[in-house]
Protein backbone atom coordinates (compact mmCIF):
# COMPACT_ATOMS: atom_id res chain seq x y z
CA UNK A 1 0.00 0.00 0.00
CA UNK A 2 1.24 3.48 -0.82
CA UNK A 3 -0.25 6.94 -1.11
CA UNK A 4 -1.18 6.22 -4.72
CA UNK A 5 -4.13 4.14 -3.52
CA UNK A 6 -5.39 7.00 -1.39
CA UNK A 7 -4.75 9.47 -4.18
CA UNK A 8 -6.87 7.39 -6.53
CA UNK A 9 -9.86 7.77 -4.24
CA UNK A 10 -9.63 11.58 -4.29
CA UNK A 11 -11.72 13.60 -6.72
CA UNK A 12 -9.83 16.83 -7.24
CA UNK A 13 -12.86 18.58 -8.75
CA UNK A 14 -14.84 17.82 -5.59
CA UNK A 15 -12.10 19.19 -3.38
CA UNK A 16 -12.00 22.30 -5.50
CA UNK A 17 -15.79 22.75 -5.28
CA UNK A 18 -15.59 22.35 -1.50
CA UNK A 19 -12.79 24.91 -1.17
CA UNK A 20 -14.53 27.49 -3.33
CA UNK A 21 -17.90 27.08 -1.60
CA UNK A 22 -16.68 27.80 1.95
CA UNK A 23 -18.30 30.76 3.67
CA UNK A 24 -16.92 33.22 6.20
CA UNK A 25 -18.92 31.40 8.88
CA UNK A 26 -17.21 28.15 7.97
CA UNK A 27 -13.82 29.84 8.35
CA UNK A 28 -14.73 31.33 11.73
CA UNK A 29 -15.85 27.87 12.90
CA UNK A 30 -12.50 26.34 11.97
CA UNK A 31 -10.53 29.14 13.61
CA UNK A 32 -12.48 28.52 16.81
CA UNK A 33 -11.60 24.82 16.99
CA UNK A 34 -9.36 23.69 19.79
CA UNK A 35 -8.72 20.17 18.52
CA UNK A 36 -6.40 19.15 15.74
CA UNK A 37 -7.77 20.25 12.37
CA UNK A 38 -8.89 17.80 9.71
CA UNK A 39 -7.90 18.00 6.06
CA UNK A 40 -11.35 19.51 5.42
CA UNK A 41 -10.71 22.21 7.99
CA UNK A 42 -7.43 22.93 6.24
CA UNK A 43 -9.23 23.30 2.92
CA UNK A 44 -11.56 25.78 4.58
CA UNK A 45 -8.52 27.85 5.63
CA UNK A 46 -7.28 27.77 2.03
CA UNK A 47 -10.58 29.06 0.66
CA UNK A 48 -11.12 32.46 -0.90
CA UNK A 49 -13.45 33.15 2.05
CA UNK A 50 -10.52 32.62 4.44
CA UNK A 51 -8.54 35.22 2.50
CA UNK A 52 -10.57 37.86 4.32
CA UNK A 53 -9.28 36.47 7.63
CA UNK A 54 -5.62 36.86 6.73
CA UNK A 55 -4.90 38.93 9.84
CA UNK A 56 -6.47 36.28 12.11
CA UNK A 57 -4.69 33.50 10.25
CA UNK A 58 -1.36 35.27 10.68
CA UNK A 59 -1.86 35.90 14.41
CA UNK A 60 -2.89 32.31 15.05
CA UNK A 61 -0.05 30.90 12.95
CA UNK A 62 2.57 33.11 14.61
CA UNK A 63 1.40 32.12 18.11
CA UNK A 64 1.46 28.39 17.31
CA UNK A 65 4.92 28.67 15.77
CA UNK A 66 6.44 30.49 18.74
CA UNK A 67 4.96 27.99 21.17
CA UNK A 68 6.08 24.92 19.24
CA UNK A 69 9.43 26.08 17.84
CA UNK A 70 10.31 28.96 20.13
CA UNK A 71 11.97 32.16 19.03
CA UNK A 72 14.46 30.60 16.65
CA UNK A 73 14.97 30.25 12.89
CA UNK A 74 17.09 27.51 11.35
CA UNK A 75 19.50 28.47 8.56
CA UNK A 76 20.65 26.27 5.67
CA UNK A 77 22.24 26.69 2.28
CA UNK A 78 21.79 24.76 -0.97
CA UNK A 79 24.79 23.46 -2.90
CA UNK A 80 24.06 22.68 -6.54
CA UNK A 81 26.20 19.76 -7.65
CA UNK A 82 24.97 19.38 -11.20
CA UNK A 83 22.62 20.93 -13.72
CA UNK A 84 22.76 17.84 -15.91
CA UNK A 85 19.18 16.68 -16.52
CA UNK A 86 17.40 14.19 -18.75
CA UNK A 87 13.90 15.48 -18.04
CA UNK A 88 11.76 18.02 -19.75
CA UNK A 89 10.12 20.20 -17.13
CA UNK A 90 8.60 22.98 -19.16
CA UNK A 91 9.13 25.54 -16.35
CA UNK A 92 12.73 24.69 -15.34
CA UNK A 93 16.02 26.26 -16.37
CA UNK A 94 17.76 22.86 -16.26
CA UNK A 95 15.27 21.24 -18.67
CA UNK A 96 17.04 18.98 -21.20
CA UNK A 97 15.77 21.02 -24.15
CA UNK A 98 17.51 24.16 -22.90
CA UNK A 99 20.78 24.66 -24.70
CA UNK A 100 22.95 25.52 -21.73
CA UNK A 101 26.40 24.38 -20.63
CA UNK A 102 26.02 21.28 -18.45
CA UNK A 103 28.18 20.93 -15.39
CA UNK A 104 28.75 18.10 -12.96
CA UNK A 105 31.08 19.22 -10.19
CA UNK A 106 34.17 17.10 -9.60
CA UNK A 107 35.34 15.93 -6.17
CA UNK A 108 37.80 18.85 -6.01
CA UNK A 109 35.15 21.37 -7.03
CA UNK A 110 32.67 20.03 -4.46
CA UNK A 111 35.32 20.39 -1.77
CA UNK A 112 35.94 24.02 -2.74
CA UNK A 113 32.22 24.75 -2.74
CA UNK A 114 31.81 23.12 0.66
CA UNK A 115 34.64 25.17 2.08
CA UNK A 116 33.19 28.36 0.60
CA UNK A 117 29.74 27.90 2.18
CA UNK A 118 31.23 26.61 5.43
CA UNK A 119 33.14 29.89 5.68
CA UNK A 120 29.79 31.68 5.99
CA UNK A 121 29.09 29.61 9.11
CA UNK A 122 26.59 27.11 7.73
CA UNK A 123 26.19 23.72 9.43
CA UNK A 124 23.09 22.54 7.54
CA UNK A 125 23.64 21.82 3.86
CA UNK A 126 21.23 20.85 1.08
CA UNK A 127 22.75 19.05 -1.92
CA UNK A 128 20.86 19.56 -5.17
CA UNK A 129 21.13 17.94 -8.60
CA UNK A 130 19.08 17.66 -11.75
CA UNK A 131 18.00 14.16 -12.77
CA UNK A 132 20.77 12.26 -14.47
CA UNK A 133 21.31 8.76 -13.18
CA UNK A 134 24.22 8.39 -15.61
CA UNK A 135 26.23 11.48 -14.70
CA UNK A 136 24.91 12.27 -11.21
CA UNK A 137 23.50 9.01 -9.90
CA UNK A 138 23.68 7.38 -6.50
CA UNK A 139 27.40 6.57 -6.69
CA UNK A 140 28.12 10.20 -7.52
CA UNK A 141 25.97 11.32 -4.59
CA UNK A 142 27.83 9.01 -2.22
CA UNK A 143 31.10 10.53 -3.36
CA UNK A 144 29.73 14.05 -2.85
CA UNK A 145 28.39 13.15 0.60
CA UNK A 146 31.75 11.80 1.66
CA UNK A 147 33.40 15.01 0.53
CA UNK A 148 31.02 17.39 2.32
CA UNK A 149 30.40 15.34 5.45
CA UNK A 150 33.43 16.48 7.45
CA UNK A 151 32.33 20.10 7.07
CA UNK A 152 28.67 19.96 8.09
CA UNK A 153 26.42 18.72 10.88
CA UNK A 154 23.29 18.13 8.86
CA UNK A 155 22.94 16.98 5.25
CA UNK A 156 19.83 16.99 3.08
CA UNK A 157 19.40 16.09 -0.55
CA UNK A 158 17.08 17.27 -3.28
CA UNK A 159 17.72 14.91 -6.18
CA UNK A 160 15.83 12.59 -8.51
CA UNK A 161 13.49 10.03 -6.89
CA UNK A 162 15.47 6.97 -5.84
CA UNK A 163 14.74 3.37 -4.98
CA UNK A 164 14.08 2.20 -1.43
CA UNK A 165 17.48 0.50 -1.15
CA UNK A 166 19.24 3.56 -2.44
CA UNK A 167 17.64 5.70 0.25
CA UNK A 168 18.71 3.15 2.85
CA UNK A 169 22.26 3.31 1.53
CA UNK A 170 22.27 7.10 1.64
CA UNK A 171 21.27 7.04 5.30
CA UNK A 172 24.58 5.35 5.95
CA UNK A 173 26.19 8.40 4.35
CA UNK A 174 24.55 10.70 6.90
CA UNK A 175 21.67 11.93 4.78
CA UNK A 176 19.22 13.41 7.28
CA UNK A 177 16.45 14.64 5.02
CA UNK A 178 15.22 14.06 1.50
CA UNK A 179 13.24 16.73 -0.30
CA UNK A 180 11.08 15.69 -3.20
CA UNK A 181 8.40 17.99 -4.51
CA UNK A 182 5.44 16.55 -6.31
CA UNK A 183 5.35 19.82 -8.35
CA UNK A 184 1.59 19.33 -8.90
CA UNK A 185 -0.86 16.73 -7.65
CA UNK A 186 -3.00 17.29 -10.73
CA UNK A 187 -2.19 14.19 -12.76
CA UNK A 188 -3.03 15.50 -16.22
CA UNK A 189 -1.26 18.80 -15.68
CA UNK A 190 1.72 16.92 -14.30
CA UNK A 191 1.98 14.95 -17.53
CA UNK A 192 1.72 18.13 -19.58
CA UNK A 193 4.50 19.85 -17.64
CA UNK A 194 6.71 16.75 -17.65
CA UNK A 195 6.36 15.24 -21.11
CA UNK A 196 9.68 13.36 -21.21
CA UNK A 197 12.22 11.66 -19.04
CA UNK A 198 11.90 9.52 -15.92
CA UNK A 199 10.05 12.31 -14.21
CA UNK A 200 7.08 11.88 -16.53
CA UNK A 201 5.96 8.92 -14.37
CA UNK A 202 3.47 10.63 -12.02
CA UNK A 203 2.82 7.60 -9.81
CA UNK A 204 6.49 6.81 -9.26
CA UNK A 205 7.06 10.33 -8.01
CA UNK A 206 3.92 10.21 -5.89
CA UNK A 207 5.19 7.06 -4.17
CA UNK A 208 8.63 8.52 -3.48
CA UNK A 209 7.87 9.85 0.02
CA UNK A 210 6.65 6.35 0.92
CA UNK A 211 10.04 4.95 -0.07
CA UNK A 212 11.88 7.67 1.85
CA UNK A 213 9.75 6.97 4.91
CA UNK A 214 10.22 3.21 4.62
CA UNK A 215 13.98 3.78 4.45
CA UNK A 216 13.81 5.48 7.86
CA UNK A 217 14.98 8.94 6.86
CA UNK A 218 14.76 11.51 9.65
CA UNK A 219 12.91 14.05 7.56
CA UNK A 220 10.88 14.24 4.37
CA UNK A 221 10.39 17.52 2.55
CA UNK A 222 7.23 18.00 0.52
CA UNK A 223 6.11 20.80 -1.72
CA UNK A 224 4.20 21.85 -4.76
CA UNK A 225 5.52 24.23 -7.36
CA UNK A 226 3.20 27.16 -6.90
CA UNK A 227 1.96 28.41 -10.22
CA UNK A 228 1.55 25.12 -12.09
CA UNK A 229 -2.05 24.49 -11.07
CA UNK A 230 -4.70 25.92 -8.74
CA UNK A 231 -2.57 26.34 -5.63
CA UNK A 232 -5.48 25.74 -3.29
CA UNK A 233 -6.24 22.31 -4.72
CA UNK A 234 -2.58 21.32 -4.89
CA UNK A 235 -2.07 22.34 -1.26
CA UNK A 236 -5.20 20.43 -0.21
CA UNK A 237 -3.93 17.17 -1.73
CA UNK A 238 -0.50 17.80 -0.23
CA UNK A 239 -2.14 18.04 3.19
CA UNK A 240 -3.87 14.69 2.66
CA UNK A 241 -0.50 13.26 1.61
CA UNK A 242 1.22 14.78 4.63
CA UNK A 243 -1.23 13.40 7.15
CA UNK A 244 -1.04 9.95 5.56
CA UNK A 245 2.76 10.03 5.79
CA UNK A 246 2.79 11.32 9.38
CA UNK A 247 0.61 8.47 10.55
CA UNK A 248 2.42 5.80 8.56
CA UNK A 249 6.05 6.93 9.05
CA UNK A 250 5.65 8.32 12.53
CA UNK A 251 9.35 8.46 13.36
CA UNK A 252 9.92 10.93 10.54
CA UNK A 253 9.73 14.72 10.64
CA UNK A 254 8.16 16.63 7.79
CA UNK A 255 8.89 19.92 6.16
CA UNK A 256 7.14 21.87 3.44
CA UNK A 257 8.73 24.37 1.10
CA UNK A 258 6.98 26.95 -1.01
CA UNK A 259 8.70 27.21 -4.37
CA UNK A 260 6.86 29.88 -6.32
CA UNK A 261 7.57 29.92 -10.03
CA UNK A 262 10.15 32.55 -10.86
CA UNK A 263 11.54 33.56 -14.21
CA UNK A 264 14.18 31.17 -15.58
CA UNK A 265 15.37 30.40 -19.07
CA UNK A 266 12.55 29.19 -21.31
CA UNK A 267 9.79 29.58 -18.76
CA UNK A 268 6.33 30.85 -19.45
CA UNK A 269 4.76 31.87 -16.15
CA UNK A 270 1.20 31.47 -17.41
CA UNK A 271 -1.95 32.60 -15.68
CA UNK A 272 -1.88 30.53 -12.50
CA UNK A 273 0.49 32.83 -10.70
CA UNK A 274 0.37 32.89 -6.93
CA UNK A 275 0.47 36.27 -5.20
CA UNK A 276 2.36 37.05 -2.00
CA UNK A 277 -0.98 37.34 -0.24
CA UNK A 278 -1.91 33.84 -1.44
CA UNK A 279 1.44 32.48 -0.31
CA UNK A 280 1.03 33.96 3.14
CA UNK A 281 -2.45 32.46 3.43
CA UNK A 282 -1.03 29.06 2.50
CA UNK A 283 1.83 29.31 5.01
CA UNK A 284 -0.50 30.29 7.86
CA UNK A 285 -3.13 27.68 6.97
CA UNK A 286 -0.50 24.94 6.95
CA UNK A 287 0.88 26.04 10.29
CA UNK A 288 -2.56 26.01 11.90
CA UNK A 289 -3.28 22.60 10.31
CA UNK A 290 0.01 21.12 11.48
CA UNK A 291 1.81 22.81 14.39
CA UNK A 292 4.82 20.45 14.14
CA UNK A 293 5.56 20.95 10.48
CA UNK A 294 8.78 22.67 9.50
CA UNK A 295 8.04 25.43 7.01
CA UNK A 296 10.87 26.60 4.79
CA UNK A 297 11.12 29.80 2.79
CA UNK A 298 13.90 30.15 0.25
CA UNK A 299 15.68 33.06 -1.39
CA UNK A 300 13.28 32.80 -4.31
CA UNK A 301 11.25 35.29 -2.30
CA UNK A 302 12.22 38.93 -1.77
CA UNK A 303 14.05 40.16 1.31
CA UNK A 304 11.07 42.37 2.16
CA UNK A 305 8.56 39.53 1.96
CA UNK A 306 10.82 37.12 3.85
CA UNK A 307 11.54 39.53 6.69
CA UNK A 308 7.81 40.05 7.21
CA UNK A 309 6.70 36.44 6.80
CA UNK A 310 9.46 34.71 8.76
CA UNK A 311 7.95 35.56 12.17
CA UNK A 312 4.48 34.44 11.07
CA UNK A 313 5.06 30.71 10.71
CA UNK A 314 8.39 29.93 9.04
CA UNK A 315 10.95 27.74 10.81
CA UNK A 316 13.72 27.40 8.24
CA UNK A 317 15.34 29.72 5.72
CA UNK A 318 18.16 29.58 3.24
CA UNK A 319 20.52 32.53 2.86
CA UNK A 320 23.10 33.61 0.33
CA UNK A 321 21.98 30.87 -2.06
CA UNK A 322 23.30 30.32 -5.57
CA UNK A 323 21.39 28.01 -7.85
CA UNK A 324 24.20 27.44 -10.35
CA UNK A 325 26.62 24.55 -9.82
CA UNK A 326 29.97 25.92 -8.67
CA UNK A 327 28.45 29.32 -8.00
CA UNK A 328 30.05 29.83 -4.57
CA UNK A 329 33.64 29.41 -5.58
CA UNK A 330 34.73 27.58 -8.67
CA UNK A 331 32.59 28.51 -11.63
CA UNK A 332 31.15 31.97 -11.74
CA UNK A 333 28.15 32.91 -13.85
CA UNK A 334 26.97 29.53 -15.06
CA UNK A 335 23.28 29.12 -15.75
CA UNK A 336 20.94 29.13 -12.82
CA UNK A 337 17.98 26.85 -12.17
CA UNK A 338 15.88 29.86 -11.24
CA UNK A 339 16.35 33.48 -10.24
CA UNK A 340 16.80 34.29 -6.60
CA UNK A 341 15.30 37.46 -5.21
CA UNK A 342 16.77 37.83 -1.72
CA UNK A 343 20.42 38.30 -2.62
CA UNK A 344 21.63 39.35 0.83
CA UNK A 345 24.64 37.61 2.32
CA UNK A 346 24.09 34.91 4.98
CA UNK A 347 25.31 37.31 7.64
CA UNK A 348 22.90 40.01 6.51
CA UNK A 349 20.01 37.55 6.65
CA UNK A 350 21.07 36.43 10.13
CA UNK A 351 21.15 40.06 11.25
CA UNK A 352 17.70 40.65 9.78
CA UNK A 353 16.38 37.65 11.73
CA UNK A 354 17.82 39.08 14.92
CA UNK A 355 16.21 42.43 14.19
CA UNK A 356 12.78 40.80 14.11
CA UNK A 357 13.44 39.34 17.55
CA UNK A 358 14.40 35.80 16.60
CA UNK A 359 17.62 33.86 17.08
CA UNK A 360 19.25 32.50 13.92
CA UNK A 361 20.32 28.91 14.57
CA UNK A 362 23.19 27.55 12.48
CA UNK A 363 23.48 24.12 14.09
CA UNK A 364 20.67 21.89 15.29
CA UNK A 365 21.95 18.43 14.50
CA UNK A 366 25.09 16.45 15.03
CA UNK A 367 27.07 13.96 13.01
CA UNK A 368 26.80 11.68 16.07
CA UNK A 369 23.30 10.80 14.84
CA UNK A 370 24.49 10.22 11.28
CA UNK A 371 25.50 7.15 9.31
CA UNK A 372 28.31 4.78 10.15
CA UNK A 373 30.14 5.48 6.94
CA UNK A 374 30.56 9.10 7.88
CA UNK A 375 31.61 8.59 11.47
CA UNK A 376 28.23 8.66 13.21
CA UNK A 377 26.21 6.10 15.14
CA UNK A 378 24.93 3.14 13.15
CA UNK A 379 22.11 4.28 10.94
CA UNK A 380 20.18 1.06 10.97
CA UNK A 381 16.49 1.59 10.31
CA UNK A 382 14.83 1.56 13.71
Amino acid sequence: MSFVEIYNTLRLEELKAFIYSRSENDVADVLGKEKRLSEWDFMTLLSPAAGKFIEDLAACSAAITRKRFGNVIQLYIPLYLSNECTNICTYCGFSVTNKIPRIVLTREQIKKEAEAVKAYGFEHLLLVTGESSRRAGVEYLKMALEVVNPYFSNLSIEVQPLKLNEYKELREYSVHAVLVYQETYHCESYRRYHPRGKKSNFEYRLETPDRIGAAGMHKIGLGVLLGLEDWRVDAAVMAVHLRYLEQRYWRTKYSVSFPRLRPAEGVDLGTLSVTERDLLQLICALRIFDPDLELSLSTRESAYFRDHVIPLGITTVSAGSRTDPGGYSVLKKELKQFEIDDSRSPLEVAEAIKRIGLEPVWKDWDRAFGGERCGGAAAKAS
Binding site: N71, S153, H218, W250, E359, V361, W365, D366, F369, A377
Partner: protein, 262 residues
Protein backbone atom coordinates in the same frame (compact mmCIF):
# COMPACT_ATOMS: atom_id res chain seq x y z
CA UNK B 1 20.11 23.88 54.26
CA UNK B 2 17.61 22.09 52.04
CA UNK B 3 19.88 20.75 49.34
CA UNK B 4 19.04 18.34 46.57
CA UNK B 5 21.56 15.65 45.78
CA UNK B 6 21.66 13.91 42.41
CA UNK B 7 24.51 11.43 42.14
CA UNK B 8 27.49 13.26 43.57
CA UNK B 9 26.10 16.69 42.70
CA UNK B 10 24.37 19.02 45.13
CA UNK B 11 21.94 21.76 44.23
CA UNK B 12 20.43 24.59 46.23
CA UNK B 13 17.90 25.39 43.51
CA UNK B 14 15.21 22.90 42.54
CA UNK B 15 14.53 24.62 39.25
CA UNK B 16 16.36 23.22 36.23
CA UNK B 17 16.23 25.01 32.88
CA UNK B 18 16.28 24.11 29.21
CA UNK B 19 18.16 26.35 26.81
CA UNK B 20 16.14 26.05 23.60
CA UNK B 21 13.63 28.43 22.02
CA UNK B 22 15.09 31.68 23.43
CA UNK B 23 15.08 34.67 21.07
CA UNK B 24 18.74 35.34 21.78
CA UNK B 25 21.61 33.82 23.73
CA UNK B 26 21.86 36.98 25.81
CA UNK B 27 18.23 36.73 26.87
CA UNK B 28 18.71 33.05 27.69
CA UNK B 29 21.61 33.92 29.96
CA UNK B 30 19.65 36.65 31.71
CA UNK B 31 16.73 34.28 32.28
CA UNK B 32 19.02 31.61 33.73
CA UNK B 33 20.56 34.15 36.06
CA UNK B 34 17.15 35.38 37.17
CA UNK B 35 15.91 31.82 37.75
CA UNK B 36 18.61 31.00 40.27
CA UNK B 37 18.96 27.64 38.52
CA UNK B 38 22.14 25.65 39.02
CA UNK B 39 21.56 23.07 36.31
CA UNK B 40 20.75 23.78 32.68
CA UNK B 41 20.42 21.31 29.87
CA UNK B 42 21.86 21.79 26.39
CA UNK B 43 21.21 19.65 23.34
CA UNK B 44 24.42 18.17 21.99
CA UNK B 45 23.05 18.86 18.52
CA UNK B 46 23.08 22.59 19.20
CA UNK B 47 26.77 22.79 20.12
CA UNK B 48 29.93 22.17 18.19
CA UNK B 49 31.89 19.49 20.00
CA UNK B 50 35.55 20.29 20.16
CA UNK B 51 35.12 23.94 19.32
CA UNK B 52 36.29 26.25 22.10
CA UNK B 53 34.38 29.26 20.91
CA UNK B 54 30.86 27.87 20.78
CA UNK B 55 28.38 30.78 21.05
CA UNK B 56 25.79 28.87 23.02
CA UNK B 57 28.25 27.38 25.50
CA UNK B 58 29.97 30.72 25.95
CA UNK B 59 26.70 32.23 27.10
CA UNK B 60 26.30 29.43 29.64
CA UNK B 61 29.52 30.13 31.47
CA UNK B 62 27.78 31.30 34.60
CA UNK B 63 29.15 30.79 38.07
CA UNK B 64 27.27 28.08 40.03
CA UNK B 65 25.54 26.78 36.85
CA UNK B 66 26.29 23.25 35.71
CA UNK B 67 25.57 22.07 32.20
CA UNK B 68 23.91 18.73 31.60
CA UNK B 69 24.05 17.78 27.92
CA UNK B 70 21.03 15.99 26.49
CA UNK B 71 20.77 13.46 23.69
CA UNK B 72 17.78 15.04 21.96
CA UNK B 73 17.71 13.83 18.36
CA UNK B 74 18.49 10.22 19.24
CA UNK B 75 15.87 7.71 18.17
CA UNK B 76 17.63 4.59 19.44
CA UNK B 77 19.74 3.56 22.43
CA UNK B 78 22.71 3.21 20.12
CA UNK B 79 22.43 6.79 18.87
CA UNK B 80 21.94 8.09 22.40
CA UNK B 81 25.08 6.32 23.59
CA UNK B 82 27.09 7.76 20.78
CA UNK B 83 25.77 11.26 21.48
CA UNK B 84 26.34 10.95 25.24
CA UNK B 85 29.97 9.97 24.76
CA UNK B 86 30.56 12.85 22.38
CA UNK B 87 28.90 15.24 24.82
CA UNK B 88 31.05 13.97 27.68
CA UNK B 89 34.14 14.84 25.68
CA UNK B 90 32.80 18.21 24.51
CA UNK B 91 31.38 19.47 27.80
CA UNK B 92 33.63 17.52 30.17
CA UNK B 93 30.93 16.23 32.44
CA UNK B 94 29.63 12.80 33.36
CA UNK B 95 26.10 14.18 33.66
CA UNK B 96 23.74 13.25 30.85
CA UNK B 97 20.07 13.85 30.34
CA UNK B 98 19.00 10.82 28.38
CA UNK B 99 16.34 11.64 25.80
CA UNK B 100 15.23 9.14 23.21
CA UNK B 101 12.13 10.16 21.36
CA UNK B 102 11.47 8.45 18.07
CA UNK B 103 8.25 10.40 17.58
CA UNK B 104 9.22 13.88 16.38
CA UNK B 105 5.77 15.36 16.92
CA UNK B 106 5.08 14.83 20.61
CA UNK B 107 8.68 13.95 21.49
CA UNK B 108 7.47 11.18 23.76
CA UNK B 109 10.25 9.05 25.22
CA UNK B 110 10.74 5.49 24.05
CA UNK B 111 10.61 3.35 27.21
CA UNK B 112 12.44 0.32 25.79
CA UNK B 113 15.33 2.19 24.22
CA UNK B 114 15.61 4.51 27.25
CA UNK B 115 15.94 1.63 29.70
CA UNK B 116 18.49 -0.09 27.47
CA UNK B 117 20.57 3.05 27.04
CA UNK B 118 20.34 3.97 30.73
CA UNK B 119 21.81 0.65 31.78
CA UNK B 120 24.71 0.94 29.34
CA UNK B 121 25.43 4.56 30.25
CA UNK B 122 25.47 3.78 33.97
CA UNK B 123 27.97 0.99 33.29
CA UNK B 124 30.03 3.55 31.36
CA UNK B 125 30.20 5.74 34.53
CA UNK B 126 27.74 8.42 33.46
CA UNK B 127 25.44 10.16 35.94
CA UNK B 128 22.23 9.43 34.09
CA UNK B 129 18.99 11.44 34.29
CA UNK B 130 16.48 9.83 31.94
CA UNK B 131 13.47 11.66 30.50
CA UNK B 132 10.63 9.14 30.71
CA UNK B 133 6.90 8.76 30.51
CA UNK B 134 5.05 8.99 33.82
CA UNK B 135 5.21 5.22 34.24
CA UNK B 136 5.89 4.07 37.81
CA UNK B 137 7.11 0.61 36.80
CA UNK B 138 9.52 2.01 34.24
CA UNK B 139 10.83 4.50 36.80
CA UNK B 140 11.53 1.65 39.24
CA UNK B 141 13.32 -0.31 36.55
CA UNK B 142 15.42 2.74 35.69
CA UNK B 143 16.26 3.11 39.36
CA UNK B 144 17.34 -0.54 39.44
CA UNK B 145 19.82 -0.07 36.58
CA UNK B 146 21.37 2.80 38.50
CA UNK B 147 20.12 6.13 37.19
CA UNK B 148 20.77 9.13 39.43
CA UNK B 149 17.26 10.56 39.12
CA UNK B 150 14.14 9.98 37.03
CA UNK B 151 12.53 12.69 34.94
CA UNK B 152 8.91 11.79 34.25
CA UNK B 153 6.81 14.12 32.14
CA UNK B 154 3.93 16.18 33.52
CA UNK B 155 2.38 16.60 30.05
CA UNK B 156 3.69 16.42 26.47
CA UNK B 157 6.83 18.51 26.09
CA UNK B 158 6.20 22.14 25.18
CA UNK B 159 2.46 21.77 25.82
CA UNK B 160 2.31 24.03 28.92
CA UNK B 161 -0.59 21.96 30.27
CA UNK B 162 0.60 21.34 33.83
CA UNK B 163 0.48 18.06 35.73
CA UNK B 164 -1.77 16.04 33.44
CA UNK B 165 -0.13 12.82 34.65
CA UNK B 166 -0.67 13.72 38.32
CA UNK B 167 -1.96 10.33 39.55
CA UNK B 168 1.02 8.49 38.07
CA UNK B 169 3.48 11.14 39.28
CA UNK B 170 2.17 10.74 42.82
CA UNK B 171 2.89 7.00 42.65
CA UNK B 172 6.36 7.61 41.20
CA UNK B 173 7.17 10.13 43.96
CA UNK B 174 5.87 7.76 46.62
CA UNK B 175 7.86 4.78 45.37
CA UNK B 176 11.06 6.33 44.08
CA UNK B 177 14.34 6.03 45.96
CA UNK B 178 16.09 8.43 43.61
CA UNK B 179 15.12 12.08 43.11
CA UNK B 180 12.12 12.72 40.89
CA UNK B 181 12.44 15.69 38.55
CA UNK B 182 9.27 16.56 36.72
CA UNK B 183 10.22 17.44 33.20
CA UNK B 184 8.05 18.71 30.38
CA UNK B 185 4.60 20.22 30.23
CA UNK B 186 4.87 22.84 32.99
CA UNK B 187 3.44 26.05 31.59
CA UNK B 188 3.05 28.28 34.63
CA UNK B 189 4.79 28.93 37.94
CA UNK B 190 1.68 27.51 39.65
CA UNK B 191 2.29 24.21 37.82
CA UNK B 192 5.83 24.14 39.17
CA UNK B 193 4.64 24.95 42.69
CA UNK B 194 2.08 22.17 42.31
CA UNK B 195 4.84 19.70 41.38
CA UNK B 196 6.97 20.60 44.40
CA UNK B 197 3.94 20.56 46.68
CA UNK B 198 3.16 16.94 45.78
CA UNK B 199 6.75 16.05 46.63
CA UNK B 200 8.71 16.23 43.40
CA UNK B 201 12.37 16.95 44.13
CA UNK B 202 12.76 19.41 41.29
CA UNK B 203 11.29 20.55 37.98
CA UNK B 204 12.74 21.28 34.57
CA UNK B 205 11.25 24.15 32.59
CA UNK B 206 12.02 25.51 29.14
CA UNK B 207 9.19 26.56 26.82
CA UNK B 208 7.20 28.36 29.51
CA UNK B 209 10.14 30.65 30.20
CA UNK B 210 11.77 30.89 26.76
CA UNK B 211 8.57 31.82 24.94
CA UNK B 212 7.05 34.04 27.64
CA UNK B 213 6.51 37.70 26.81
CA UNK B 214 9.23 38.57 29.30
CA UNK B 215 11.41 35.48 29.85
CA UNK B 216 13.48 37.07 32.62
CA UNK B 217 10.42 38.06 34.65
CA UNK B 218 8.91 34.61 34.09
CA UNK B 219 12.16 32.96 35.21
CA UNK B 220 11.98 34.91 38.45
CA UNK B 221 8.33 33.91 38.90
CA UNK B 222 9.26 30.23 38.48
CA UNK B 223 12.08 30.63 40.98
CA UNK B 224 9.66 31.94 43.58
CA UNK B 225 7.01 29.33 42.80
CA UNK B 226 9.47 26.46 43.10
CA UNK B 227 10.72 27.80 46.37
CA UNK B 228 7.15 28.29 47.68
CA UNK B 229 6.10 24.82 46.55
CA UNK B 230 9.07 23.22 48.22
CA UNK B 231 8.46 25.07 51.50
CA UNK B 232 4.80 24.06 51.39
CA UNK B 233 5.83 20.43 50.96
CA UNK B 234 8.27 20.66 53.89
CA UNK B 235 5.67 22.42 56.03
CA UNK B 236 3.24 19.57 55.51
CA UNK B 237 -0.10 20.48 54.08
CA UNK B 238 -3.27 20.72 56.14
CA UNK B 239 -5.63 17.79 55.66
CA UNK B 240 -8.29 18.03 53.01
CA UNK B 241 -11.80 17.80 54.40
CA UNK B 242 -14.98 17.25 52.48
CA UNK B 243 -17.16 19.45 54.73
CA UNK B 244 -16.67 22.95 56.01
CA UNK B 245 -15.23 23.27 59.51
CA UNK B 246 -17.47 26.06 60.74
CA UNK B 247 -16.13 28.22 63.55
CA UNK B 248 -19.63 28.49 65.03
CA UNK B 249 -20.92 24.91 64.92
CA UNK B 250 -24.56 24.41 64.09
CA UNK B 251 -25.03 22.06 67.06
CA UNK B 252 -23.43 24.22 69.76
CA UNK B 253 -26.87 25.11 71.13
CA UNK B 254 -27.02 21.60 72.61
CA UNK B 255 -24.18 22.48 74.98
CA UNK B 256 -25.36 25.99 75.73
CA UNK B 257 -28.86 24.70 76.70
CA UNK B 258 -27.20 22.85 79.61
CA UNK B 259 -25.33 25.94 80.66
CA UNK B 260 -28.56 27.94 80.54
CA UNK B 261 -30.24 25.41 82.81
CA UNK B 262 -33.25 24.84 80.55
Amino acid sequence: MDTLQIGSYKFNSRLFLGTGKFSSNTLMREAIEASGSELVTVALKRVKPGEDNDQLLNHLKIERVRIIPNTSGARTAEEALFAARLAREAIRTDLVKLEIHPDPRYLLPDPFETLKAAELLVKDDFTVLPYTGADPVLCKKLEEVGVAAVMPLGAPIGSNQGLKTRSMLEIIIEESRVPVVIDAGLGLPSHAADALEIGADAVLVNTAIATAGDPVLMARAFKEAVSAGRRAYLAGRAAIRSAADASSPLTSFLDSSVVNGR
